[in-house]
Symmetry: C2
Subunit: 206 residues, 2 copies
Amino acid sequence: MTVVYFALYRKNHFKTKEFRMQEDTIEGFHCNVQAPFEKAGAEIRMTDAKVDFVFPEVPFPSNKIFATMGAQAIEAMVVHHHTLLRKSAIGELFPSDDAVFAHVTHKTAEFFIEALGGAQDFSTQYGHPALRERHFRFLIDEKARDIWLMLYKKTLKDIAFPTQHLEEFWNWIEALSIRMINRRTTFETPKRYPFASIAHEFTPKG
Amino acid sequence: MTVVYFALYRKNHFKTKEFRMQEDTIEGFHCNVQAPFEKAGAEIRMTDAKVDFVFPEVPFPSNKIFATMGAQAIEAMVVHHHTLLRKSAIGELFPSDDAVFAHVTHKTAEFFIEALGGAQDFSTQYGHPALRERHFRFLIDEKARDIWLMLYKKTLKDIAFPTQHLEEFWNWIEALSIRMINRRTTFETPKRYPFASIAHEFTPKG
């Protein structure tokens, strides 16, 4: 008997490395399609339960980012990002009407302001962000998530996001964005973009 | 520290009940959206890793069904099912061209014949079924799976599927169909339709 244990360490982010080691042993859909298809025999043949992939832990940022940037700069960042998104390959996910687009962008800004440590305008008006749930009505595949995240990287460069908070912010949106994926087009686990892999893009030229 | 263990018992279907008990403890997306959104504090706040849902074990049938039905009756069953599907709410997933539709239906029949114990024509021509992978290009949400399965139930009635093999066949397609889901529109785990819940529909009227 082979038993695969998959441990979900809750509320204990110091276990991250250990968690990831466990995660490697989980039975995903990476079946060998080159393998022969087993012929039906005299008995019922039970195949394993599987998971698609594990949505990674999300490190929600501290209130330090809001303390540095303030509401206005955060709103400007969100407007910048949304403006890029609207012109992107996933532009159709956003309202075509300018007034509705402005409203949605402001609502998103309220979420970011609150999540980064500012006023609780978002949850006061709309309740818990419940981001995955709110995004169910939009078809978001792995590629859409990549576009969203890569345009955030561009935004962070364009607006000269405070360097000392970059890693904290990036680690949040990089993991958070995976949670919006609701359309799978591949067996592959959504691509990770660790801060170490993009940090050099933010190093001041000199 | 709270540690949630999720055990995947592989190749050991006698553990099914125990497995399901473990499954209940896995951290899914059933978050309480009524809960307040935690305010950002001085420290980074790590949220849990999550899985969407666990694709259940699939009991592949024995070769008894082919022995009873033979290739011709299985092909007729698949043709019947596909004809119903084509006229259904998910009809657009199937080729509109009659010749292409007939080809796809025959290919599906070859899969069913092989999976049920008949000739290995499918895998000889196309390799491993890799059903989830082959279906990635079609958008299949929970509702599409329900339609597919409910029309199979109708098919089994319409063609008077051999009663003694009904449970074995149903348990296979009920679990297998979940694997095709690649578009999620809800937090809910895809609905299960245990044989016990549909068996009465097949009881001979008397």
